[in-house]
């Protein structure tokens, strides 16, 4: 058992009407691994999670938990538990009764339930809240009860369905750190669905970036950020500037045909290109770098650590994050430079 994966998805497919929500998704989750499904809404990440949990049946493909097929089993016979976006606590049961529910349903001996409930509430730092009802808890506390309720049964795999997206920012960051801490301490296996790339980067062993029901790339977060497998992954992970340039006879022009003062170390072939660079990798006033563009400053924004400079060059718009005081005035023509390794171009 130790060498089987906690979860294996093999060529999963699910269509609703004519719309393919999950398209040939294959993922293996190793024991103790925290895998995030990251994607915009409608990318099939929640549908994939619902297939694993047993709330939907796949049209094709296999789901294996601990090495055995489960896709024919209903939700209540699968060794998975879900933390829902809205918590979905039982409103007529106390916190302790909510947490005990899964243990009772699984036939755990009565004498073992109380200590396990107590311990689970301790783990999520809600000792002393046993007798409260969900209506008497704050949003963050509700989600922590939901977490305790799902973890206490020690499922083979925990499923997180955007559990933090209904909370405000500071609570989100706090709970995110707490889930991370619990994972480090307990070492549960998990699939975490989110559209928030910050969450995905901060918590995951591996990130699977999804788009239109397919996995575009699955890898460690650092790797996905540094070496995106596709243009979609590049634009979805982190901020980026997109330079749309028309290259013909070695000269670049914007989409309207106006010439651009664009220097590239490695010239691009003929055609329409989209060049992407992270705003933090663009440098101001550097005509000496291997690549460069002359652009006119439109306006600046103060973001705290940096100023964000918004430039225009013909139809192009780009922004540069630059620390230190603002030295340029709107309307100034500025040389923007970057290293060849920091850019990617797609045709």
């Amino acid at each position: 058992m130790a060498d089987t994966n906690a979860l294996e998805l093999d060529g999963l497919r699910r269509a609703f009407g004519g719309v393919v929500a999950v398209d040939n998704v294959s993922v293996d989750v190793r024991r103790g691994e925290f895998v995030t499904l990251l994607g915009p809404s409608g990318s099939g990440k929640t549908s994939t999670l619902r297939l694993i949990g047993g709330f939907e049946r796949p049209d094709a493909g296999a789901i294996r938990i601990n090495g055995s097929r489960v896709d024919h089993l209903p939700a209540y016979q699968r060794d998975t538990t879900t933390i829902f976006q809205t918590g979905a606590l039982f409103p007529h049961k106390t916190v302790a009764e909510n947490v005990a529910y899964g243990l009772r349903m699984r036939g755990v001996a009565k004498a073992d339930i109380a200590p396990r409930v107590r311990q689970a509430l301790e783990v999520v730092r809600l000792s002393g809240y046993e007798e409260r009802y969900p209506a008497q808890l704050s949003g963050g506390q509700k989600q922590r009860v939901a977490l305790a309720r799902s973890m206490v049964v020690r499922p083979t795999i925990l499923l997180f369905d955007e559990p933090l997206s209904a909370l405000d920012l500071s609570l989100r960051l706090q709970l995110r750190a707490e889930i991370r801490r619990l994972h480090d301490e307990i070492g549960f296996s998990a699939i975490y669905v989110t559209h928030d790339q910050g969450e995905a980067m901060a918590m995951s062993s591996r990130v699977a970036v999804m788009r239109s029901g397919r996995i575009e790339q699955i890898d460690r977060p650092e790797k996905v950020f540094a070496e995106p497998a596709s243009e979609f992954v590049y634009t979805f992970i982190g901020e980026s500037c997109c330079l749309r340039a028309q290259v013909s006879a070695g000269a670049a022009a914007d989409s309207a045909g106006a010439p651009l003062e664009l220097r590239l170390a490695q010239p691009l072939g003929e055609g329409a290109w989209r060049i992407y660079i992270r705003p933090s990798r663009l440098h101001l006033g550097r005509a000496d770098m291997p690549n460069g563009l002359k652009a006119r400053l439109d306006f600046t924004e103060f973001l705290g650590d940096v100023h964000r400079y918004h430039f225009k060059a013909g139809k192009l718009e780009l922004f540069v994050d630059h620390p230190g005081a603002v030295v340029h005035k709107p309307g100034d023509a500025v040389d923007i430079g970057w290293q060849t390794a920091d850019m990617v171009a797609y045709q």
Partner: protein, 300 residues
């Protein structure tokens, strides 16, 4: 809701404390006035009427007597009618709540596009007057009625039968009339439940049956009580349906009141019957409210 005036009042000296204590009453006064004018006064008049005396050729003569109440204790017709009414109302209410519950649950669980059709279906009986519905049953239950034809032509029975003027017909009639009220009360309760709790229960290992007993039933307890009360009150009070569809021997209190009022022109006796009926309903309501626990009230 339980926050009374004393909870809100600052513990200061007399003046503002009095005003704070008066405020809730002032705020409630329009509703109270309407309740007193339209419900309190008629019942008070009826109560007074029940102590009047009755002589032939007069509806009543003012007086003060307990005869009308004493008659109920000694009159076997009345106690029989009381028993019949309670039995009829109890059974038809239980059946109504059971059917209404299943129906409302299905509408709640089914995709939205079915919803409007179901609701329209449930509204139909409310659009027709009770009398028209009775005429409908008159075409359904007799020997040459729809039911008889359907049973014979489907081969279930060989000879035509009549279910007209049976207690069964009275049950069906009562259930049909009260079903829409039950359905809408229960549907509104179901609509207040987050469907995700059903998934959460299944997710934690609860089979559909256990999910029903552990989650759905406790969350709809209040609705069951309310719809049962609604249906029971209606079934106890109505007299047209049971007397038009049931056997001649089916004497309900509603029928007796009608007979005293319109047949024998004995208004004090009719008023006394009505007071007993109203009090009986009130007692049943209070029991139901006590049974529906505080927890449901807290978490709705």
């Amino acid at each position: 809701m339980s926050a009374g005036a004393s909870d809100m009042a600052p513990s200061g000296p007399r003046g503002p404390g009095w005003r704070m204590r008066l405020t809730p009453w002032l705020l409630m006064s329009p509703a109270l006035l309407i309740a007193i004018a339209f419900f309190g006064l008629p019942i008070a008049f009826m109560g007074r009427m029940s102590f009047n005396e009755h002589v032939d050729q007069r509806f009543y003569v003012p007086g003060f007597t307990f005869d009308n109440y004493a008659a109920m204790l000694t009159d076997p017709t009345f106690s029989a009618a009381l028993w019949t009414t309670m039995r009829l109302a109890l059974i038809s209410s239980i059946v109504t709540v059971a059917i209404g519950y299943v129906f409302a649950m299905l509408v709640w669980l089914k995709p939205k596009r079915w919803r409007l059709a179901f609701i329209a279906l449930a509204l139909c009986p409310l659009l027709i007057s009770e009398i028209s519905i009775i005429f409908g049953w008159w075409m359904f239950f007799p020997k040459n009625g729809l039911l008889s034809y359907a049973l014979v032509s489907s081969g279930l029975i060989t000879d035509k039968i009549s279910l007209m003027y049976t207690e069964f017909a009275a049950f069906v009639g009562l259930t049909y009339v009260t079903l829409p009220f039950c359905f809408f009360i229960l549907l509104s309760i179901f609509d207040g439940i987050d469907k995700k709790v059903l998934e959460a229960s299944a997710d934690l290992g609860g089979s559909p049956v256990r999910t029903f007993y552990e989650v759905l039933l406790p969350l709809t307890k209040g609705g069951i009580a309310a719809s049962f009360a609604q249906s029971f009150i209606w079934a106890v009070g109505t007299y047209a349906t049971p007397s038009a569809l049931g056997p001649d021997t089916l004497w309900t209190i509603g029928y007796l009141i009608q007979e005293q009022m319109l047949g024998k022109h004995n208004w004090p006796r009719a008023a006394a019957f009505s007071i007993v009926l109203t009090s009986g309903v009130a007692v049943v309501m209070m029991i139901i409210r006590m049974l529906a626990s505080k927890r449901t009230a807290l978490n709705g």
